[in-house]
């Protein structure tokens, strides 16, 4: 069964303390792997798409990487405004039209 899991469920960091969020997927075929950010009370905000193992994307303090089984969202020197829930999602080759979301990692960055 295709599925995506994320770890940890929640993460507290001190400002400036770099870390990584993990997204593990078991899908029969992957069209794309996505990362979203969601602030409380708002809809998810698109961050990155990764298509193949070895690919990397960067945006400000965030860098997303992809292997054949996992994706990581690296956060370098985080600031309090990076606090949010980060969602991983994928589009399976079996269904062009659909995106399947993971449960998310709640990140808190303490000043």
């Amino acid at each position: 069964e295709d599925q995506v899991t994320q770890s940890p469920e929640a993460l507290r960091l001190q400002e400036g303390e770099s870390s990584s969020l993990n997204c593990s997927y078991t899908v029969s075929g992957l069209r794309g792997l996505f990362w979203y950010r969601q602030d409380p009370g708002k809809g998810p905000e698109f961050l990155f798409t990764l298509y193949s193992a070895g690919e990397e994307k960067e945006k400000e303090r965030l860098k997303a990487t992809l292997t054949k089984k996992e994706s990581f969202l690296h956060i370098t020197a985080p600031k309090p405004e990076d606090s949010a829930t980060y969602l991983c999602a994928y589009s399976p080759k079996t269904s062009y039209d659909k995106v399947i979301f993971g449960p998310g990692t709640s990140l808190s960055v303490i000043p």
Partner: protein
């Protein structure tokens, strides 16, 4: 927010009553989606549309129906609301990239 609005933003209704949620987009996107988000389950696809009058089911479609008579509007209807349908509902559109989705602000629905 990619020109997506949802209405109402908050609604409280009683069990057994019909409810319709509206998603409106201003940028002529072909694909539109309805998700629900619940603690412990994340975002789950209810229905989606790939054009006017073209819709398909997602993973949690039971108890929901949709309609799309115009490109800009995608309606989600709960024919007879149940307490298990208490949730936050998000509408999304597919953006410029082949699989990127952009979300509206959400509707918080409470069924008492």
């Amino acid at each position: 927010d990619a020109g997506i609005t949802q209405s109402p933003r908050h609604k409280v209704t009683e069990t057994g009553t019909p409810v319709t949620l509206r998603c409106h987009q201003t940028e002529n996107h072909r694909y539109m989606y309805w998700y629900r988000q619940d603690p412990g389950h994340g975002l789950r696809l209810i229905h989606y549309s790939y054009g006017v009058k073209d819709t398909d089911k997602g993973e949690v479609s039971d108890g929901y129906s949709v309609s799309r008579s115009k490109t800009e509007d995608f309606l989600l209807t709960l024919e007879s609301a149940t307490s298990s349908q208490t949730s936050v509902y998000f509408c999304a559109i597919r953006g410029q990239g082949p699989y990127e989705q952009y979300f509206g602000p959400g509707t918080r629905l409470t069924v008492t």
